[in-house]
């Protein structure tokens, strides 16, 4: 069992990781649209402990936290995001395409496209007669893609071990959830695909963990697909550089008050699972570990241009 303190530790790593990434944008070390999960840590941290290495996790454009939860090497991730040769994908992928086949982790920049991929992993479990599961994490906006429907449908038909977690941060770029969903919740739609549906407070890491663990257990035991909707709020713009004028300042100010790290921290203290000093110690050590990691990554080389034509094909091509 993953303790609340452990989860808080993960959340700290996640937050600090994202903060480290932010540094690469103004310095132009990171290009393209960097999407961070700041404010949404309780969801990914809720996954921890339920997944094994042989379970798959397919993520999105906003994928760093999920990769951390799956156990992907953070330094390799950071190096990939900072476009280094030492990155998880040698610099070929970039921040939207973190992939770690050993841990069955992958991400895509196409909204909704990870769900059919997770379906394939789930089908592999069936083929292997194994009890491994597949998780797809998506945003609320992805529920409206055809890919989501097709994959959910097939998972329902075959009752495959697929768990789709919807991080409902209420916005898909500038489009509010209500303008893209005909139903009040995503969870209530689950029966259309013969899946279980549940909505949880995504700022409550324990609630997420309980719902997630239940869905995983159900999937492992042949109980079929689940759809978990976790409410949350994206603290920053859609990507770094987004003017984010579509959300009112008041909304942003208010909602950022509800910080999953603060909530979890308070709970830990309340339950006396750790002392204030211990927590500060944890926080300081994570922070400095990440500072160090970043410094190392920054010293690493960029991939060589002359290698850019590698890896198009395994065998001879063109």
């Amino acid at each position: 069992m993953t303790s609340l303190l452990d989860r808080y530790g993960y959340m700290l790593w996640m937050r600090e990781f994202e903060l480290a990434c932010l540094e690469g944008v103004p310095t132009r070390e990171i290009h393209g649209e960097l999407h961070t999960g700041i404010g949404q840590e309780a969801i990914a941290a809720g996954f921890v402990g339920s997944l094994r290495a042989d379970d798959a996790l397919c993520s999105t454009h906003r994928n760093h936290l999920h990769a951390i939860a799956k156990g992907v090497d953070m330094r390799a991730m950071l190096a990939e995001i900072f476009e280094r040769e030492t990155g998880l994908c040698g610099g070929y992928g970039g921040h939207m395409h973190l992939m770690d086949p050993k841990l069955k982790f992958s991400a895509t920049g196409i909204v909704g496209a990870g769900v059919p991929v997770a379906l394939g992993h789930a089908y592999a479990a069936r083929l292997k007669n194994s009890d491994s599961v597949a998780v797809a994490v998506i945003g609320d906006g992805a529920v409206n893609t055809g890919a989501f429907h097709e994959a959910m449908n097939l998972a329902g038909v075959l009752q495959l071990p697929l768990i789709v977690v919807v991080e409902n941060n209420e916005w898909a770029i500038s489009v509010p959830f209500g303008a893209s969903s005909p139903t009040a919740t995503v969870a209530e739609r689950a029966s259309a695909w013969a899946a279980s549906g549940v909505k949880v407070d995504g700022n409550d890491v324990e609630k997420v963990a309980a719902a997630f663990d239940e869905a995983v257990a159900k999937a492992r035991s042949g109980g079929g697909p689940s759809l978990i909707e976790a409410s949350c709020y994206r603290f920053r713009g859609h990507f770094e550089g987004d003017a984010d004028t579509y959300r009112s300042q008041q909304e942003k100010d208010e909602r950022r008050q509800i910080d999953p790290l603060t909530i979890t921290r308070a709970r830990i203290l309340e339950r006396a699972l750790a002392t204030e000093e211990q927590l500060v110690g944890m926080e300081t050590s994570v922070r400095s570990a990440l500072r160090e990691m970043l410094a190392h990554v920054r010293a690493e080389p960029h991939p060589l241009g002359e290698h850019a034509t590698r890896h198009v094909f395994v065998e001879a091509g063109r």
Binding site: G32, E83, M96, H97, I110, I173, P303, G305, A308
Partner: protein, 330 residues
Amino acid sequence: MRNLNLSQCIAEAINLEMERDDRVLVIGEDVGVQGGVFGATRGLQKAYGSLRVLDTPISETAIAGMGVGLAMEGYRPILEIMFVDFMGVCLDQIYNAIAKNHYMSGGAVRMPIVIKTAGGCIGSGAQHSQCLWGTFAHLPGLKVVAPSNPYDAKGLMASAIESDDPVVFIEHKKLLLTRAEDFSFGADVPAERYTIPLGKAAVVRAGTDLTLATISGTVLPAIAAAERLDAEGVSVEVIDLRSVVPLDVDTVAESVNRTGRLLVVDEDYLSFGLSAELVTRVIESKARVNHFLRHAVPDVPIPGALSLENAIVPSEESIFTAAKELSRRV
């Protein structure tokens, strides 16, 4: 000079068309309240309301299919597919319906639709950096336009909206983000409406030794490279194709007939695309092509790291090198 950037010019063009023609609509993700992720539909929802400028869910197939139904109802929808890279989720409606309905109906149905999208490299990796005009151009029934500067962007967008044929309009992300004053040409954009005919290339720089034909984001670096080649004694004529379909072979052929050398620069993938088609058509036109060279993304996905991207995407430097090499061929 008004110093508008390219995305403002697009918004202005759409605005003028929406003003004069009630049937023009804008449908897509983030086109309304936000005015487009690049600002290219800014102000339109305020001006024309949330029915004519509709923010949709992330449902590109619904967007494209809606466009088909709306066109059948007499509307002239502008469908925004945010990045051209996302076309794969809705290409069916684009090539099987939008491109073919006019033909399949024996001319009875018209599809005056603009598919407005952003392409080109800005360090965003394999799924957010493609050009793909070669993909659309291969599929009959679609016009394919890609402007290189603010002036053209406005005039070509007006023509695209006015056209009774479907037009895929690919805006280059880098240009969308470039300020007008940083354009070496086409930065001065009149406030009033004007159109630029689809299918007419522009000779954006005169030259005598070599014809360089390109489009969209590589026009500016091509001109810059040409300036530098002057110093090397090579006079480069630069042609901005403006559209891939129709492809203005005449303008290129006429130039090559004078220069004898053709360099095609393409930010899209090299093979089975614009560069071979243009080379072949110019030769077919009986122009005197003594030497030609293609310089394009060498059939490689666009890598994540900028150091890799820079190595495969045509740039001023690489265009300079390619043109120089071609100019020396005997």
